[in-house]
């Protein structure tokens, strides 16, 4: 695609040089423009991701703000489920938030719903943390539900 009928035979080096310069000039203008845009947007992007992380942490930790927010990524049905588990100082779950998941829409994807996630509040390693025992699994999505349980368990173990 680049210069399909680029230069015939017998063209001299000067012509090549000239075209190279022209393309380079365009590259330079483009690079300059992009650098400016980058300089303006980059801080905002960084800020955004920090804010998002902090917001998530805040959501899973107890109101006091004490405890740890632990990121785990158990294997779900459609790939890893990125989740954040808040563990309070006594080793109980204070909140769970799903950061990203690729579960089946309408089925496994329902793990993000508070109705499901709120069940984990107050659980500790002493609990079995298994679907159909102490956790009501999402109907038809036992694998996704189990994955979240595994993730919570892992986070609790890490918190120790």
């Amino acid at each position: 695609m680049l210069g399909r009928n680029y230069l015939g035979a017998g063209e001299n080096v000067g012509k090549i040089f000239k075209l190279g310069i022209i393309l380079a000039v365009f590259c330079v203008i483009s690079a300059g423009g992009l650098a400016i845009v980058y300089m303006y947007t980059q801080p905002k992007i960084v800020l955004n991701s920090q804010l998002a992380l902090e917001g998530s942490k805040k959501a899973v930790l107890p109101p006091s703000g004490k405890g740890q927010a632990i990121a785990v990524s158990p294997r779900g049905y459609g790939g890893p489920i990125e989740m954040l588990v808040g563990v309070d100082p006594v080793g109980k779950v204070s909140g769970v938030k799903i950061l990203s998941q690729r579960e089946t829409p309408g089925l496994g994807a329902n793990i993000v719903k508070p109705k499901f996630l709120d069940q984990f509040k107050g659980k500790s390693l002493k609990d079995p943390l298994e679907p159909k025992k102490d956790i009501d699994a999402i109907t038809g999505a036992t694998i996704s539900s189990r994955a979240v349980c595994v993730g919570v368990k892992e986070a609790l173990r890490k918190a120790k």
Binding site: M1, L2, R4, A31, L34, A35, Q42, Y77, G79, T104
Partner: protein, 192 residues
């Protein structure tokens, strides 16, 4: 084992054409004949492997050291376009037989989103060089699989009395829908 997983995920589970919807123009355009689809497949495997290697190097050895990640779009497309052009010129002169078999597909590949997408995705997934090579092989293999099978299926439909309004592209889309439905069976395989 992990490499196998990367390959399998790219090859079937997240098939680039049927599940990820990348490179669809050529999927529908080239699959009208079995021969062209096979030729295109080989060309894609060839170019994707080389270009993902080169763009990985451009990213990691040119852009990253200078913190110029934001230039990746421009840099990659420039690299790939130049690369394809070079390959075409080289083949045409040096290996004319191979060029006749594959060369005509090369220009089609430059604007094939799959090539660029693989370069981006390999970086988004933070693959190292080996992994990104395996990944690009999986993707191009999945592309070939889907497009060749699709060409065979369309070939079989040549005589079918398809309702008038659905002839041509609409029925091709419906066929792709059903193929994609069948590929849903791979969801979650090997926990990927």
């Amino acid at each position: 084992m992990e490499l196998l997983g990367i390959f399998f995920a790219a090859f079937l589970i997240n098939n680039i054409l049927l599940i990820r919807f990348i490179a669809l123009c050529s999927f529908f355009g080239v699959s009208t004949k079995i021969d062209t689809s096979v030729g295109m497949s080989f060309a894609v495997i060839f170019v994707m492997t080389i270009s993902s290697a080169v763009s990985w190097m451009v990213y990691h050895y040119v852009l990253a050291p200078f913190h110029l990640e934001f230039l990746r779009t421009a840099a990659f497309i420039l690299t790939i376009a130049a690369l394809v052009q070079l390959e075409e010129l080289y083949l045409k002169k040096m290996i004319p037989n191979l060029y006749r078999a594959m060369g005509i597909y090369l220009p089609l590949i430059t604007t094939n989103c799959a090539i660029l997408a693989v370069a981006f995705l390999a970086i988004d997934y933070r693959y190292d060089f080996l992994r990104s090579m395996v990944y690009s092989l999986g993707v191009s293999g999945g592309y070939s699989l889907a497009i060749v099978l699709f060409a065979y299926v369309r070939d079989r439909m040549a005589l079918a009395p398809i309702p008038k309004w659905f002839q041509g592209y609409p029925i091709a889309f419906i066929t792709a829908a059903l193929m994609s439905l069948a590929f849903l069976g791979f969801t979650g395989m090997f926990g990927l």
